[in-house]
Amino acid sequence: MIGNVYQTVCPGCNMGCGLYIREDEEGALAVDFMKSSPANLGKLCRFGMKLAHHYSKATSMVDGKESSVEDAVKAASDKLKGADVTMLGVGNTTNEESLAFSKVADALGTVVNTGMGVYSELPTECHPTVGVGITLDDIESAKRIALFVDPYVQYPLLVRRILAAKKNGASVVSVGWRDLHLADENKYIDPDMYESELGLDSESVIIADVHPNTDPGWVKRMLNLALKTQAKILFMKPFVNATGVDLLCKGTGQKGIPEIMEGINEGSIKTLVTLDSDPIELMPDSDAAAATLTKLDNLIVISSRYGPVNKMADIVIATEPLYAKAGSFMNVEGQLLNNSGESTTGIDAMSTLAQNLGGEALDYQGLHNNVLESIVQKFTKPNYKELACEVLDIGPMEEKKGNLIYLYNPFMWFDEPDDNDFVMVNMNTVNKLGLGKGAMIALTSDTGTVNMRYRVEDMPDGLILTAKKLPVATGWTTIVSTEAV
């Protein structure tokens, strides 16, 4: 055939949307619709539609100079032998590469941190419920849905599932900051009122999400709500293989990305190896993250994409684009989804690295069988694990302080441009600041000022929502002052 057609999964989030990537003779990429894919029937959201611009190719580097993969691996081995290494793999890649990465970790006598610090603060018996939620089809038969995410912006392929549920008679309450068209009511209420106000029962579904910057207290609150109301719960996650990685790189006591950053700042972490996980993109305050990484002695990046961390890395081991990798992913339902690609550059590199560090050689087939035995067997037929634990002690909740609030979405996780380049405010703010139509609003925090276009939304007074990473933000909520430009 002329050029190539790859069947792959969109790296935007944990939904597991199947699609084709077409590569023409000159290597130009285009997205094509895989209508037979069960999770999304070939449909894609804004991020999926722009994937042709997403797969920026990485190049192997040693100390700032281009090099071959082999030299990069050799240089990495020398640096890592006998070092105290911290490893980060959030699940932006295949099960097989993640497993290979954890084999390298074994050889170094350490664990792979999935960046989801939440897990280490939850009792192990509720991990399965957080890891694998109800199936997407089950959402359509729920009687009542409580939304703790904004599906239009954050996980868009949920929209059609919720609409289908409404057609089957479900009622939808959203507990977010802005009114959602598909929600029958919006309850921006005190969390303690959730149980009494949301009217949930055993035929209800709670849809929340968990990501590296989530406050563990919040996840416990969600689990308690599910426990007390017997509602089923689905935790969406931002990385295509978050579920797979969580199951493969087991063990509590893993560090979250904020924790790793603190470790580097305190000097307890000197060497960091990442697998397709760029802290500068993942942390809310990119500049602070970049500053922190300069404190490392060794920064080794194994990545298929060219991201800001590649520029800072001592060594970059470049792997093939995600769509071309041989491998599988596990989505939020626990479904195993396969790439049609056959390339194993990443796995071979990590195999050499593992051997150099005293581990055994790795090959794709071996890793794939291991994946099938270890995580798929347990979830041959994805079934929802009823919560089997008591009400959790939430502990001190870091009170939400800022009025600028992040609406994390795929564009933000990869810090990629999106046409929806604005912040949301309500009409009172517009009139208070005297903003003209098409004018800009100036947001100032202690780290600087940025001028943004604004959209008028029905939402609480004084709040500002953004689906775009802003230089002024220091966390997923930040205190900012506002004035007309």
């Binding site: 009409m427 517009v430 139509k437 008028v456």
Partner: protein, 142 residues
Amino acid sequence: MAEEGWEPKIVAFCCNWCSYGGADTAGMGRFQQPASTRVIRVMCSGRIDPLHVYNAFLEGADAVLVTGCHIGDCHYVNGNEKTEVKYKFLEEMLQQLGLEPDRLHLNWISASEGERFANFINEVTAKVKELGPSPLKPAGVK
């Protein structure tokens, strides 16, 4: 009917050579008109893109007027004839969309027809006042 004292907002696209001149002549002739209309000057009615007309409605216009030279008088030979073709589609589409027909008008006005321009504005403003605010007007827009 809208609440009392409500004044419609009308966007009028005028072509530099004829209808804009007609508006000027209406001014020179002191033909009084309601302060409902905002004129936007283009070089030829052919320049008026349905995209601009939609944007006017969606920004809050209660009526949009597409004006230009009489057929045969176009400074650029047949810009107005092409406007007529596009206008047919525009009219049909907005009608099918459910917008009241009286909110969109096409009118050829020459630079000397000041009074006719004024009467046209008076008529449209009266009709639109009858219809009330446009269903496409965003909330809170004046």
